[in-house]
């Protein structure tokens, strides 16, 4: 399952990125990123704050230009053919937003007109998308009165006006409560069903798992892993079994024993001394049962045992051996702020 091929404009790729570099002073927002998104798939770009995800989306939307490297979207070069490129993309981002002072309908109508739809078509498209995203009731109200979930749905509708071939979702659910997040996920899944290619950035493994078919993990402007989501999940441990022995002194021996037995997932068992737990990656129910069996056979008393999806932190731990970099210390969370003149 090789994602990186040598042909920079490879067929069937909606997005191709080669050696993309963007520095803000000392900060390497992007430090040689390669990425391919096949047509009709959802590529998840997973990484902590400051990993360069938003910078990548901003370059691919022609909002900023890269310092080096090249990128094409639907065959159009981000630097040389920005205008054609803008016709085929949709952008829903942390920053790209609707006009809060305008009613939902007016926002969509305006974007329709800016995309050269006739008055009639722009009206019809606005009605249609409001209906589809369940916003018809709120069509005439200013967007500032919308709830968080309604705002995101309006954002999604706005990015769909031009029937984009490639859609960027830049952290679409950051800051939403779990129920609203599920709502947005359902909408995104429906959009993917229509055949649009999606580039999704997220900080949450769970979101990537829900929406993406392929995943690129980025950290400090570099790609640290990429592949099919199942493959990566396997590499980091499809699930994580969190085992807490009653006696913390048993943590180390237990980890060694499990690694020796070789019954866990691809990544090795990790000791989390802070919480006094053992993180055991498991790929299957059989492995899970085997781990529990081995622990019991050893006669070690455990106070709790839970399974969870690997968090972003655990993904990083497994892939890089270090935790996701603390963005506040090393990289500004919002690189844009840093460069504003």
């Amino acid at each position: 399952m090789t994602r990186i091929d040598d042909n920079p404009v490879g067929g069937g790729h909606a997005v191709t990125v080669r050696g993309l570099v963007k520095h803000y002073g000392e900060t390497k927002a992007l430090d040689g990123v390669d990425l391919d998104v096949r047509e009709g798939t959802v590529m998840g770009v997973l990484g902590p704050n400051g990993a360069g995800k938003t910078t990548l989306v901003r370059i691919l939307s022609t909002l900023i230009t890269p310092d080096a490297g090249r990128a094409t979207v639907a065959g159009y070069d981000v630097v040389r053919q920005p205008r054609q490129l803008r016709r085929v993309i949709g952008l829903t981002g942390q920053y790209a937003s609707v006009d809060e002072k305008l009613p939902g309908w007016e926002n969509l109508y305006m974007i329709g007109r800016l995309l050269d739809l006739s008055r009639k078509d722009a009206r019809a498209r606005a009605d249609e998308l409001l209906e589809r995203f369940s916003l018809t009731e709120a069509a005439r109200r200013p967007a500032s009165t919308y709830s968080g979930g309604m705002r995101r749905r309006l954002d999604l509708a706005a990015s769909m006006i031009g029937r984009p071939a490639v859609l960027y979702l830049d952290e679409p659910t950051t800051g939403l409560d779990p129920r609203t997040r599920n709502e947005v996920w359902d909408e995104v899944k429906a959009m993917v069903g229509d055949g649009v290619t999606v580039l999704l950035t997220t900080q949450y493994m769970e979101e990537a798992e829900q929406l993406a078919t392929e995943l690129t993990v980025v950290d400090r402007g570099k790609v640290i892993a990429n592949g099919g989501i199942e493959e990566l999940k396997a590499r980091v441990g499809g699930r994580t079994l969190r085992v807490r022995p009653v006696d913390p002194l048993q943590l180390r021996p237990l980890a060694d024993m499990l690694d020796e037995l070789g019954i866990t997932g691809l990544a090795t068992t990790t000791v989390d001394t802070e919480s006094g737990t053992l993180l055991v990656p498991v790929l299957s129910d059989e492995q899970l049962t085997a781990v529990v069996g081995a622990v019991t056979a050893r006669g070690i008393t455990i106070s709790s045992i839970t399974t969870e999806l690997p968090s972003l932190d655990e993904v990083f731990l497994s892939l890089t051996g270090h935790r996701a970099s603390a963005p506040q210390d090393t990289v500004p969370a919002d690189a844009r702020e840093e460069v504003a003149v």
Binding site: L63, I64, R83, R87, V88, L91, A96, S97, V98, V339
Partner: protein, 273 residues
């Protein structure tokens, strides 16, 4: 909803936007700015109230004493200050353009616009057009209040010429404020910078009082201050009297500012990250 429909909108290798496209885009953005006013009528308060308050203040507070110096009374001052206030209004209203523009950047709306296949100029022109409309409304209010306090328009054609000159100057100075709106971090700083440029230009001019009693060094400034030029030209055009110097000063500044600042504003807008 298929992904293929979109390619039909792509005009092959031709990336130029036809004039009709520019007009359509500017129209859509104009509509947006007008809807803002409907959504938030209070945003018109400055345009409607400022001319009233300034006219009443200057006429009734300073009118008596400056009018005496002019060789008349309060009425002489009305005749003097109303064209001056027209110049003041054009600059004050032009200044607002930067604040709104800056807010668009900070709210993320501008990112949406910049990721759409529209000419970057459309966004700027729509903003300028709406602010000019606000300026013209403020000017209309000023003239009504002016006439109510006794302003006498001798030449009606001159009135329209004066308004045209004020509009020209406002549209040129707006490029300066648009540039500030693009490069400054927040709306408050844009407003602060705006006022810093506003006050010396407005008060160091012939808007409120004749310049002949000012010290020589200051008169070098006031004589070539576009605010003096605009005020003097407006006086001459509406009431008769010398027009040429004021007219040339205003025209020279308007053309000069536009020639320098419009490309800078557009460049800053294009390259803003």
């Amino acid at each position: 909803m298929s992904a293929t429909t979109v390619t039909s909108a792509v005009t092959s290798a031709d990336t130029r936007i036809p004039l009709r496209g520019h007009l359509r885009h500017t129209g859509a953005l104009l509509r947006r700015n007008l809807l803002w006013i409907r959504q938030d009528p209070e945003s018109m308060f400055d345009a409607l109230l400022m001319p009233v308050i300034f006219t009443l203040l200057f006429v009734y507070v300073f009118g008596g004493s400056i009018g005496k110096a002019l060789g008349g009374g309060q009425q002489a001052y009305v005749q003097y200050v109303v064209p001056g206030l027209m110049a003041m209004t054009s600059l004050s209203m032009a200044q607002g353009v930067g604040t709104g523009f800056n807010q668009d950047f900070n709210s993320g709306v501008m990112d949406r616009f910049r990721s759409l296949p529209i000419g970057r100029g459309s966004v700027l022109f729509a903003k300028i057009a709406v602010e000019l409309a606000r300026m013209l409304i403020a000017t209309a209010v000023l003239m009504v209040v002016g006439v109510l306090v006794g302003f006498d328009i001798t030449h009606w054609a001159g009135l329209f010429a004066a308004v045209g000159l004020a509009t020209l100057f406002a549209s040129s100075i707006m490029w300066v404020f648009l540039t500030l709106g693009v490069i400054m971090k927040n709306a408050q700083s844009v407003q602060a910078m705006g006022f810093l440029t506003l006050f010396p230009l407005q008060f160091g001019s012939s808007i409120f009082a004749p310049t002949n009693s000012m010290p020589g060094w200051l008169r070098h400034f006031t004589d070539y201050n576009p605010m003096s030029g605009l005020a003097d030209a407006a006086r001459g055009l509406m009431n008769g009297g010398p027009v040429a110097h004021g007219l040339w000063v205003t025209l020279a500044w308007s053309v000069g500012i536009t020639a320098v600042m419009a490309p800078i504003a557009i460049h800053k807008f294009r390259t803003k990250s």
